[in-house]
Symmetry: C2
Subunit: 391 residues, 2 copies
């Protein structure tokens, strides 16, 4: 057996919170399609979500994982439930044109006696397709299906001490990734070689815990790519004078802490220093504002007011709830730091505040993964935020 | 501008094939939701698919990419189309509870005059959710929506010479990854450190071309994990006597070649050698069978007959079409090497034949990425297939 990341009590407590919310919404059954939510509920961990995979939360008893037959073996090695609650659909249903795994899964649920009443299902989960939903619901004609998108995510928004411990380790891995970037990136070095070194640090920098795959791969934006976020690396070489934005992270048992920093190859141009000053002051405003009782949009407003005094503005949100994550996203899709988000901050929430300014042909990114504490907030990584100048 | 991976002619030719198939199916418009298909059609390349993103193939003219406003900048840097065919939906639609990007995208399509007739949409694309589909279709009440799942994938199944050139480079990266694994994996080494070294080789092993992220991360199965495929790495240390199955790949401009090999730490047990002999002979049967005019299931039958003579059987399929890929899957979901798949093999198809035998507590994997040639097939990597014994 693979060691569980958390005690059984932690899983039992998660289940109780989910059932309380199910009850509030009048749900008889919950079908969980989001892979991070599946891991949160069961501890299942495998790269098997390229075929349909669900976790079922029945009214009582253990949850049930259902996925590809080949992967049920890995299910039994990783989950906390009894082996009979790990179920495989037949291999001849994998990517076949004449049958669908959800036909089988829907029938299995119906045969369990759970195929009626009000069934919650996550209608915006990655890897849950319109076809999968159509086939699943067709197999249970006596049920009504209710959107349960984000039901589990909102429970995830407040972290337990054990979860925070993993996030602290994740932040250490993220620091190691940034330090590695500072060390290896230099004029003449290829982007792809820098990314290789950074990922090795993301996985190996802690003595006692492996780093996991981060939900977004390392993003390193320099040269012509620096005016746009989210582009991928290439064989391009860094050049003297470039401002290099690093959007990195660390992940420990899939708990992910984001950490963005910026480095300058050679002397820092005045225009870069000007934006940097605004962003650093903006981050101070974010850190001074995020505290229990404040609203998510108060944090964004503090940032917006600060950069406005410097003559800048930014359209997009500046942060989001972060925690357990699988590709393609480490955001939890609940709290956003932006205008109109009136979520009340409470201790135990963890937010990735990411301040990216994309100028004409270059950009700066500085971020912190913040834990909301009893009386304010704490950045989980401990690293200078100034642009790292490498001469 | 980021250099295009292919000439404009190649994109024009792809578009012509897609339109021919659209016409055959009576489709007035095609909405492409699959990220690999989007890249195939437009060359767009960014990690932005955690919010809705579509490519639209209208009856005439260039395709249109629509994604998050922030990512339109990256779109303009990577696609072959004119900038006006890269469209961003507003930032306030990102992961918001009161509006959905597909509301905006659907309205945009309707305002273009394309919101009626028969619209093809990929109903089983990763990252295309039931909610996204509901919102998109609600915004175009005058259209009828037709499942176009795999329409583009089937066109991708036969590769052009330029695509095969990338796949050959991908196979070189995959070889480098396997050789790195052979070099670094040893008793006492942690799995996470081995994965770091392997990924660095996957990205950096070629002098002229960066390696891209592979759609599945490295899978290294040893110790207790070896009885199950698709589990993730940990801080566990390899131990003397272990049989280590390596399911690796290389990716060049997202063209992906899979390559699985197995290594043995210390003397090879007789039971391992016995399964190895069956698998090696099975691979010879696969290579001798895959040729133009044969059917996909002929290849599987050759394998099945061979291992049956050794006293083994295997439930799952043994291979699939492979090519341009984004997480979570490098398979193209078209051709499968399994019973009942009567696809006729033709030159230019590329198949990942992966022979994995999962025994009680250990496993062997050996694979080849095969190009179907004029008179047979050719494995793109050139590496001994025998278990690599490391003493």
């Amino acid at each position: 057996m693979v060691p569980l990341p958390f005690s059984r009590d932690e899983y039992v407590s998660r289940l109780a919170k989910i059932r309380k919310e199910m009850s509030k919404r009048g749900l008889d059954l919950l079908i969980v399609n989001d892979v991070a939510n599946q891991h949160y509920i069961t501890a299942y961990d495998g790269w098997s979500f390229y075929t349909p995979q669900v976790v079922i939360v029945p009214p009582a008893g253990e949850p049930v994982w259902i996925g590809r037959a080949m992967d049920a073996a890995g299910g039994k090695l990783t989950v906390w439930m009894r082996p009979e609650n790990v179920v495989g659909f037949p291999e001849d249903h994998v990517q076949a044109s004449d049958r669908h795994p959800m036909d089988w899964i829907g029938r299995w649920i119906a045969e369990k006696g759970w195929g009626q009443g009000r069934i919650g299902v996550e209608l915006e989960a990655y890897y849950y397709s319109p076809k999968a939903h159509a086939r699943l619901t067709a197999a249970m004609p006596n049920a009504s299906f209710i959107d349960a998108d984000l039901l589990v995510n909102w429970i995830r928004a407040v972290k337990s001490p054990a979860e925070i411990a993993y996030l602290r380790r994740a932040a250490q891995l993220a620091e190691a990734a940034v330090k590695t970037a500072y060390r290896v990136i230099a004029p003449g070095i290829r982007e792809c070689d820098a990314v290789g070194a950074i990922q090795a640090a993301q996985y190996g920098a802690l003595a006692d815990h492996a780093g996991d795959i981060t939900a977004l791969p390392p993003t390193i934006l320099a040269g012509e790519n620096a005016s746009a976020p989210h582009l991928m690396w290439s064989e391009r070489k860094f050049a003297e004078g470039e401002t290099v934005a690093l959007e990195l992270a660390g992940a420990c048992r899939h708990y992910t802490a984001g950490l963005a920093r910026t480095m300058q190859l050679g002397a820092k141009p005045a225009k870069v220093a000007k934006v940097e000053a605004a962003v650093l002051e903006g981050m101070e405003a974010v850190l001074a504002t995020a505290a229990p009782g404040k609203l998510a949009h108060d944090v964004e407003a503090a940032w917006r007011g600060t950069i406005a005094r410097h003559g800048y503005k930014k359209e997009s949100r500046i942060g989001y709830s972060i925690g357990v994550a699988y590709p393609p996203d480490w955001g939890e899709h609940t709290i956003s730091l932006r205008q109109g988000d009136a979520t009340v901050l409470v201790p135990g929430q963890v937010l990735h505040a990411i301040l990216g300014m994309w100028m004409d042909g270059w950009g700066i990114e500085i971020s912190e993964t913040l834990l909301v504490t009893e009386d304010g907030c704490e950045p989980l990584a401990k690293m200078p935020r100034e642009i790292y100048v490498k001469n």
